[in-house]
C-alpha cells in the first residue's frame, strides 16, 4: 500500500510511502477525491516516508490541488526531503503549493 489516510482534527492527512510515480498516482487521486466528496476540505499530504516523485506524481498533486481549491478547501504539503524540495524548486511548483517543514507545522496553520 503506497498511501495511508487519517483524520487529525479537521484535517485529512495522507502519507505517501515509498514513491509517488506514474504507477500509483491514480490511487492517490482517487483517495483524495473520495474524501473531498465526503466533505473533507483541509488536506495535508505528508512526504516524510517518500523517496522520490516523478513528473506524473507532481502532476497529480497539481490536479488534486485544483479540485480542492475549487471546493473551497486547502492543501498543504509537508516533510519534503532535500531531493523532493529540489524537484519542486526546479519545476517552480514551490510557488504553487503551500509547503511546510513538517506535519505538525502544516496542521497548526489550519
Amino acid at each position: 500500500m503506497s498511501f495511508s489516510i487519517r483524520s487529525v482534527g479537521d484535517a485529512t492527512v495522507v502519507q505517501v510511502q515509498g514513491q509517488l510515480i506514474v504507477g500509483n498516482r491514480q490511487e492517490l487521486k482517487d483517495l483524495v477525491l473520495a474524501r473531498l466528496e465526503e466533505g473533507a476540505r483541509n488536506f495535508v499530504i505528508d512526504f516524510a516516508g517518500t523517496g522520490y516523485i516523478d513528473s506524473s506524481g507532481l502532476g497529480v498533486l497539481v490536479s488534486v490541488s485544483k479540485k480542492i481549491r475549487e471546493a473551497r478547501g486547502e492543501l498543504r504539503l509537508a516533510s519534503l526531503n532535500e531531493d523532493l524540495q529540489t524537484l519542486f524548486e526546479l519545476t517552480k511548483l514551490d510557488t504553487l503549493f503551500q509547503i511546510r517543514d513538517d506535519l505538525e507545522e502544516a496542521l497548526a496553520a489550519f
Binding site: I21, D83, K92, T95, L96
Partner: protein, 142 residues
C-alpha cells in the same frame, strides 16, 4: 538490456538498472535521485506517449557503463515526436498544468539528453566526473 511494456513494470525496471549502476556511482544521491527520476521519466514517456499505452509494443532500455559515466537509451515503437515543440513547464502560464514536466526533468537532472531524429529514442547520460550541484548539469557521480 531491459524491456518494459506497461506502466506497472517501470518501477522494477528502474530499480534493476539503478542496482546495476550502483558499483560505479558512489554518489548515492545522484544515482538514486537524478538518475532514477530521469530514467523513470524517459520510460514513462515512451510507454504513455510513444507507444500510446499499447501493451503489444515494447520499450527497449539499453544501459552502458564506462569510465566516463552512465548512458541509458530508451526506445519506443511509436512514430516519435519533435521535442523542440514541448513547452517550458516553468513558464507562468504552464506551472499550474498537470502535465508536461517529464522532458524538463530529464534535462534538469541528467548531464546530457539527446533524442534521435524521429524522436522515438532518447539517450540519457550521467557523468562520473567533476563537481556541481544536484540540479546542475555537471556533477560528480563519484
Amino acid at each position: 538490456m531491459e524491456f518494459v511494456r506497461e506502466i506497472g513494470g517501470i518501477e522494477d525496471a528502474v530499480e534493476e538498472l539503478v542496482r546495476q549502476c550502483a558499483p560505479v556511482c558512489a554518489d548515492t544521491r545522484r544515482l538514486y535521485f537524478n538518475f532514477r527520476v530521469g530514467l523513470t521519466e524517459a520510460i514513462a514517456n515512451a510507454i504513455l506517449y510513444g507507444n500510446g499505452r499499447d501493451p503489444a509494443k515494447k520499450v527497449r532500455v539499453e544501459l552502458r557503463l564506462d569510465d566516463a559515466g552512465i548512458q541509458v537509451q530508451v526506445t519506443d515503437e511509436g512514430r516519435g515526436f519533435d521535442p523542440a515543440t514541448v513547452p517550458d513547464p516553468t513558464l507562468p502560464e504552464n506551472v499550474s498544468k498537470p502535465t508536461g514536466r517529464g522532458i524538463f526533468l530529464m534535462r534538469a537532472l541528467m548531464d546530457d539528453v539527446r533524442f534521435n531524429a524521429s524522436g522515438n529514442s532518447v539517450s540519457l547520460f550521467l557523468r562520473l566526473a567533476e563537481e556541481a550541484d544536484v540540479g546542475d548539469s555537471a556533477r560528480s557521480c563519484r
